[in-house]
């Protein structure tokens, strides 16, 4: 798409040599299609989460300040986080976005409806929307804000994941922000550009085993009204601003299924596909840095939250220890690692790759963008490996907290005094290592897939792969050393 005088390389999806298999889920299970086509579908999946989210906010503000006795900490940072990263993302893409309560009030204000559709004409759509409907600034129409937002939150992770009030504050701010942005800007601006959760979901959903796509691209080509993105009397305009006619990656499809409802040709379906084999194109530097930030944060979270280094924990735990100098060192170190050091190492590997493969016809920038995909499956599986001890060691708190969500002394299910019981802690490294090795495998596989599209000559291909593969291997070894000693 880029013209010759644009400096940023254009996004070009890499053609695969062999198309991975796909299975049309809606064709196999028509009841699922009928379910998602119901107008009330999204409301029904959001409502329970809205209730829980509200309970979490109340618990965070009015419940016990002790993290492992408060539902907001235990259910969000142990249960929800594990389910999200280990199940929802790899097997459901952005399924969390389907049921996320954060944009609920924003959507309500913008649409003036919770379930129904309002046909009409609102600046480019076939629906009636309320609000100022302003354009999000072009300079911020990327995920840089989400990158820095997530990094900022991660700097305070020791507080965020242990102090109920901090979690409540953050989620409260996010929901207010979502509502406020929906009133001022168009569609789901919050979700696309601001939400820190959305940032990493966009990246890791590329590996997912499901995708929502148009069944026949020719039908989309001939479609006169492009109802998927413009809306119709059957469905709202795509809140994510995605054009289904050419969609070829999961990153920004929030699985709201409005397009399934609005498509006049019934041409959109949910497909199953193999893990980490399909979407392999990173679009811009913002996405590359996202991959780097997430990988580095998996490392620093593991070091601080799971590691034996008390000094680092104290540095991160600034609210109790009050060591601001230490906290500054920790914050600066983490930011430097995520924004400079690791991307620098990756850049070096790309330069070496280009030199070693004598790849003069391909620019460094293009190779930098394309090969960065290898960090995506690696990062996801590193996060899963980090999350395994979280659930296995702390999972028993879920049982006690379910009975006493606010730590007020309730005993709803007669399990409030269920003792902490780690689940086979000795087996944790034996689970983490295969996950890390799987991350290495899928990272190398993605590297090979991308490289095959760029280098027809096998020797050149493998030469170009070598330096990034070494970096990937080194990263895996660092994680393994961290997890198993």
């Amino acid at each position: 798409m880029a013209t010759a005088n644009q400096t940023i390389p254009s996004f070009v999806p890499v053609e695969t040599l062999a198309k991975p298999w796909r299975k049309d889920v809606f064709a196999c299970w028509p009841w699922l299609k009928r379910l998602v086509k119901m107008r009330s579908f999204q409301f029904l999946v959001i409502l329970p989460n809205l209730f829980l989210f509200y309970l979490f906010l109340i618990a965070g503000v009015f419940g016990t300040p002790v993290g492992n006795r408060n539902i907001i900490i235990v259910f969000v940072w142990i249960l929800w986080w594990f389910v999200l990263i280990a199940a929802m993302v790899p097997f459901g893409s952005r399924l969390w976005c389907t049921m996320c309560p954060l944009p609920f009030f924003g959507d309500w204000l913008q649409r003036g409806a919770v379930i129904g559709v309002r046909p009409g004409k609102s600046a480019g759509t076939e629906n009636t929307f309320f609000g100022a409907w302003r354009r999000w600034p072009k300079q911020l129409s990327n995920i840089w804000l989400q990158n820095f937002g997530f990094l900022f939150l991660a700097t305070f992770s020791a507080l965020l994941v242990t102090r109920p009030i901090v979690s409540a504050l953050v989620f409260g701010v996010l929901i207010l922000l979502a509502a406020g942005l929906a009133v001022v800007f168009r569609l789901r601006t919050f979700c696309n550009y601001v939400c820190p959760i959305s940032g990493f979901l966009s990246l890791y959903s590329m590996t997912s085993t499901v995708e929502l796509r148009s069944t026949d691209k020719d039908v989309c080509l001939k479609c006169k009204y492009k109802s998927c993105i413009r809306g119709s009397d059957k469905g709202w305009a795509c809140p994510w601003n995605v054009y289904m006619g050419k969609l070829d990656r999961n990153n920004y499809c929030g699985l709201c299924f409005e397009c399934v409802k609005s498509c006049p040709h019934d041409n959109i379906s949910l497909f199953l596909r193999p893990f980490a084999t399909s979407d392999v194109g990173l679009r811009g530097y913002d996405e590359v840095w996202k991959a780097s930030i997430m990988l580095v944060l998996a490392f620093t979270y593991s070091v601080v939250l799971l590691g034996p280094w008390g000094r680092l924990k104290d540095w991160a735990n600034v609210s109790e220890v009050h060591n601001w100098r230490g906290f500054g060192l920790f914050a600066a170190g983490q930011a430097l690692l995520a924004l400079v050091v690791f991307p620098g190492l990756y850049y070096l590997s790309v330069r070496l790759a280009k030199w070693y493969a004598r790849a003069d016809s391909i620019s460094t920038k293009e190779l930098f963008l394309k090969y960065a995909y290898m960090l995506v499956p690696m990062g996801l599986l590193a996060w899963i490996a980090f999350s395994v001890p979280l659930i296995m060691v702390n999972g028993s708190y879920i049982i006690s907290v379910a009975s006493d969500p606010l730590g007020w002394g309730m005993n709803l299910f007669h399990s409030s005094e269920f003792a902490w019981a780690p689940l086979y802690p000795a087996s944790v490294p034996f689970i983490q290592v295969p996950i890390l090795l799987a991350g290495l495998y899928y990272g190398l596989r993605g590297l090979h897939k991308v490289g095959s599209g760029l280098f027809p000559d096998p020797q050149q291909l493998y030469r170009s792969m070598t330096p990034p593969a070494v970096l990937l291997l080194g990263t895996t070894l660092v994680f393994m050393k961290l997890f198993i000693g």
Partner: protein, 145 residues
């Protein structure tokens, strides 16, 4: 439905705390909630919850006045560390109160007098300040504890 939830949930929690909880005990029970916090070594009847945890200036509970004959339920809580609760004169405790947990202690204020309660376990540098007393007011002529 959403509005019902927004109002109903906090209403339900309020009802549990102020209506349901007191009714778990016999009528005329004196229900006292004591929370231990290591910062300052304070027993307090003020709630220490999420929003005031860092800015808390809880009022120190030096003494609690009881009436002779009252059945007393003390809900003992810890806001931060593993504390311990004991009323030595009544041979109650020491009972561990882990962080975030609620322990219930019941006794009858049969005679007038002073019942000291304290944290039995060295929990923090301020451990020595973690004590208070129940003052049972009654017939001055009757023999005390």
């Amino acid at each position: 439905m959403v509005l019902l939830m927004l109002i109903g949930l906090p209403a339900s929690l309020w009802c549990w705390r102020h209506l349901s909880l007191p009714h778990r005990y016999p009528p005329a029970t004196k229900l006292i909630t004591l929370t231990a916090t290591a910062d300052g070594g304070i027993w307090t009847q003020d709630p220490i919850v999420g929003y005031n945890y860092w800015w808390r200036r809880p009022n120190r509970t030096e003494q609690v006045i009881l009436n002779q004959g009252e059945h007393v339920v003390v809900r003992v809580r810890s806001a931060d560390l593993l504390h311990s609760f004991a009323i030595p004169i009544l041979r109650i405790g020491p009972l561990d109160v882990p962080a975030g947990h609620t322990l219930e202690v019941e006794f009858d204020a049969k005679r007038p007098g002073v019942l000291t309660f304290l944290c039995w376990q060295v929990c923090s540098p301020e451990h020595g300040r973690l004590h208070g007393r129940f003052v049972v007011k009654g017939d001055a002529t009757e023999e005390g504890w």
